[in-house]
Amino acid sequence: MRYDPANPEWPERDRLVLSKGHSAPALYAVAALSGMFAVQQLKGFRKLGHSLQGHPHVGATPWVETSTGSLGQGFSAALGMALGLRHQGNLARVFVLLGDGELQEGELWEAMLCGAHFNLGKLCAILDYNKLQSDDYLAKVLAVEPLADKIRSFGWHLQEIDGHDPSAIQTALETADRCDTPSFIIAHTLKGKGVGFMEGRPEWHGSVKLSDADLSQALTDLGASPSEIDGYLNGHWSN
């Protein structure tokens, strides 16, 4: 992505819309580490009087491209951005991150039709295909397969990758940039990846009920320690 942390309003910046707005913690962590704001601010996440809202909100954190949290809408908003940028001859790219459960929203398929109809070549959707949603497995709640065929039939360029492989992600994003049609990347993922007791378990969606023992186990799994994390958040961390 082309962006300048010192100038989040730079008109030529690439945009990222987190359509699966409930993943705000991941967005905030990445943004903090990318220099969009001080890492210590992460401590105010979801707290009264702090800017980092429970779901991304442009009114509270202007570097967030738009407010999300109602599944399906971020995709349309990203599409509108891509259309608005093209209208003005701006060549910036627009990336939108979708959840697989989110595919069950009708609005999402309105946007799929629309993106192909307007042939928004700068629009790139990335699907976090973890096969889980809030209540249960997608296949049990409301199946979306066969998915690749659906995406292709809607006229989008399709790639399927391992969503945990950074070089595969990099290559896919470059490939997407070279195609004239809107682009859709199915990123196969494992929800809770890296934390053994969470991996692939629907009950951990949206759950923050971690015992101290669970927390330390999770951090160990991830190769970190509580004191290290505290260090980051208290600003002792430098890189």
Partner: protein
């Protein structure tokens, strides 16, 4: 880019003129004045009046098909790139994108104008499914959303310019059926301000949209009976002109509100909220009493659902009686 100068409407529509066609004319005129904006449609351009804009500026018109939720959220995204968007459809179908209007437009503070034609019983023969009697209530409840309902084609042209001038989310309802001409060149429209169209000491009739003409007729009838009614056109339902309403309470002491909308949540409710807080006074409500509409000609429906001048007259008398009994 804006030239800074907005021209006044050149033509006053003929007698068959509608608010929706006036809206379409206003868009063309504003573009001619150099205003930068685009128009989105959901397959009803012929009905909302924006077909005129499409013909004049095809490069600034985007057809979204019958997909209102996507259209409204995309309008929020488009506006984020710096150009205001008029997103248009019929009022009932705008309701379908209520949550998109809430999150992607209002919460994100986007410069999007949601303009809906076909509100109220004024829709006529298409019947209950098409007659939107809930839009003012629904959009008024969204924080930061300005809500506008002009009364005639001329005022619609002025209101269209005013909502574009204003930076932020707006919902405006126009109208389907031929409208009586109420205003002449020289009429002013200011967002958030009502206008006294006629003076009278006994009761205030506060109306918006098609009901303004009926309120004026009611005032004529009341005058023949020696009752003086002040008639107020209230084209901005939110933010409401509270100052004027309080002044009406001081001058006339009682009210009738009139709107082509459910009595719950619209203009009447807004006026009553204001009065309850600042100047408690008797209020009678003219509007559809919590029901859906049905097929029929707009005038027949207005009669059946008690929106016409004689019903406003009755309500005015009831309000005056309540005022006198209070003393």
């Amino acid at each position: 880019m804006a030239t800074g100068q907005t021209s006044t409407p050149e033509q006053i529509g003929s007698s068959g003129d509608t608010l929706r066609e006036a809206f379409g004319r206003a868009l063309v005129r504003l573009a001619k004045d150099g205003r930068d904006f685009v128009v989105f449609d959901a397959d009803v351009a012929g009905g909302t009046g924006v077909h005129r804009f499409r013909a004049a500026h095809p490069d600034r018109f985007y057809q979204f098909g019958i997909a209102e939720q996507n259209m409204v959220a995309a309008a929020g995204g488009f506006a984020a790139t710096g150009i205001p968007v008029f997103a248009t459809t019929f009022a009932v179908f705008m309701l379908r994108a209520l949550e998109q209007a809430r999150l992607s437009v209002a919460y994100a503070k986007r410069d999007v104008k949601l303009v809906a034609s076909h509100p109220g019983l004024d829709v006529g023969p298409d019947g209950g499914s098409a007659q939107c009697l809930e839009d003012l209530a629904a959009f008024r409840a969204i924080p930061g959303m300005v809500v506008v309902a002009p009364a005639d084609p001329y005022e619609t042209e002025l209101a269209t310019a005013a909502i574009l001038e204003y930076q932020g989310p707006v919902y405006m309802r126009t109208g389907r059926s031929p409208s009586r001409r109420l205003f002449e060149p020289g009429h002013r429209f200011e967002l958030g301000r009502g206008q006294i169209l006629r003076e009278g000491p006994d009761v205030s009739l506060i109306a918006c949209g098609v009901e303004v003409a009926r309120a004026l007729d009611a005032a004529d009838i009341l005058a023949t009976e020696g009752i003086g009614a002040r008639v107020v056109n209230m084209p901005t339902i939110k933010p409401l002109d509270r100052e004027l309403i309080v002044e009406c309470a001081e001058k006339t002491g009682c009210f009738v509100t009139a709107e082509d909308h459910n009595i719950h949540g619209g203009l009447g409710a807004a006026v009553a909220e204001c009065l309850a807080e600042l100047a408690p006074s008797p209020v009678e409500f003219i509007g559809v009493r919590d029901s859906f509409g049905e097929s029929g000609e707009p005038e027949e429906l207005a009669e059946k659902y008690r929106l016409t001048a004689p019903h406003i007259v009755q309500a005015a008398k009831a309000a005056i009686v309540r005022k006198v009994l209070r003393k």
